[in-house]
């Protein structure tokens, strides 16, 4: 049987890899992809907690969190990509460090 710790360590690792991508990648589409990795790490955690600690036949708390997270991920991608495409149209770049119009 797999102990809970394995899932949690996997999720933490995935989250940190995603965070590294968000902080370090130049391409803003790649930044969005890294955010997806982080959201997936959270999903693994939620389902692991549901399976190991809160498993009853009537409570679906873990499931509902995951459903909401799926919606958040979809919304985040749609809006994020719309912003990137819009910015690409006006500035001809997708590099995150070139979006400097709001820099002080």
């Amino acid at each position: 049987m797999i102990p809970l710790s394995w899932y949690l360590i996997l999720a933490a690792l995935l989250f940190c890899i995603g965070l590294f991508g968000v902080l370090a990648r130049k391409n803003s589409v790649a930044v969005l992809m890294s955010v997806e990795l982080m959201l997936n790490a959270v999903n693994i955690n939620l389902l692991a907690f549901w399976r190991y600690l809160y498993l009853t036949s009537t409570a679906y708390n873990g499931f509902v969190f995951v459903v909401v997270l799926f919606a958040v991920a979809a919304a985040e991608t749609a809006v994020g990509l719309a912003i990137i495409i819009s910015a690409y149209r006006s500035r001809k770049t997708v590099a995150a460090e070139d979006f400097t119009a709001l820099q002080g």
Binding site: R89, S90, R91, K92, T93, D98, T100, A101, Q103
Partner: protein
Amino acid sequence: MTFWQDPYAAAVEWLRNLLIGWGLTVEAAQLILYLAGGIVLAGGSLALVIFLIWAERKIIGRVQDRLGPNRVGPWGIFQTFADILKIFTKEYITPNGVDRVPYNLAPVLAVAAVIMIWAVVPFTVTLYGADLSVGLIYVMAVGAIGEMGIVMAGWGSNNKFALLGAFRAVAQMVSYEIPMVIALLIPVMMAGSLSLGAITASQAVWNILIAPLAALIFFITSVAEVGRAPFDLVEAESELVAGFNIEYSGLKFGFFFVGDFLHAFTIAMLFTVFFLGGWRGPFVDQVPILGAVYFFIKTSLVYLVNILMRAALPRFRIDQMMDFNWKYLTPLSLSVLVVTALADKLTLGLSAWVRIPVFLGLNGLLFLAASVMVNRRAINRPRAEVVSRPRPLARPETAVQPETNGGVS
């Protein structure tokens, strides 16, 4: 249950007993049976394609007042074998600059995604790969894998026509998935389950009588998903040369070809499951194997309509294709779903003789209203010049130039 009533179940039982008799454990016997079932299903579906290609060429030939294949074997029935031999002898050409892994993986995904659908289709009460409780979502998810195959082919080929084909493929498939899923919610609602077996079993009255509009929407969107005429913009010969599979040769091209034909037939099978009652028919309760016969007759009829449509209709333009989906099919599918749900709730408990006319009448009204709206818009709207005005994304040099120096920094 004797052999003649359900030879499949009897054969499986016999094989299992034989394996256990040889000293295998029950689990090992089950594993071997699963593997054998998978191989038979995948092999059978691929063998079917040989026949499908011949039939389609023959029928389209007749529609176009030609003879169709008629040289190899009686009625040209072995033509496909000759084609296969030819395709085997062709050279594999890998163009310069391709992205090797996606380029080689794409044909495999295109075929595998279709065969994976066969795993959940119930051919009779007892004859199915797996009756997943999330069967419908599984089918849609597997479709997404096929989409990924086309994208990989278009991108990996390093060819602008292939890339344009992939662009069109993604736009078309992602868009048409929406009305398709909404239309499929009606059979799910009627059965109260996502499993394909339960959906078939629930259709004492075929769903096409309850929701003819949903069936029509599913049929149209399924043709678009497969990318056949009139929705074959993905591989439009006259515009894109061949679309996403332009750089493929030999067996790799054959994979796409096989995947295309098999997908068309598979989607006809899904239409049968969701709207034509699957294996249901007279005397099926006594002789379950009759269900497979009914199933394939119904599927072939749907497939025949598909072929005739391919032969008869010209190709959509890309803006017409998008307009048709977003301004017509999507709102129509949403309203059909709402109306059917309400009608189902209101007539709950009445006999089928009352319910079906109500459903049919409501569907007819909806269709009429939708047609009136479409016609009015088509008459009143001046035709937009789509082709002559280049979009900024298509031609970056005509787009608004960015400010120099990156703004106020």
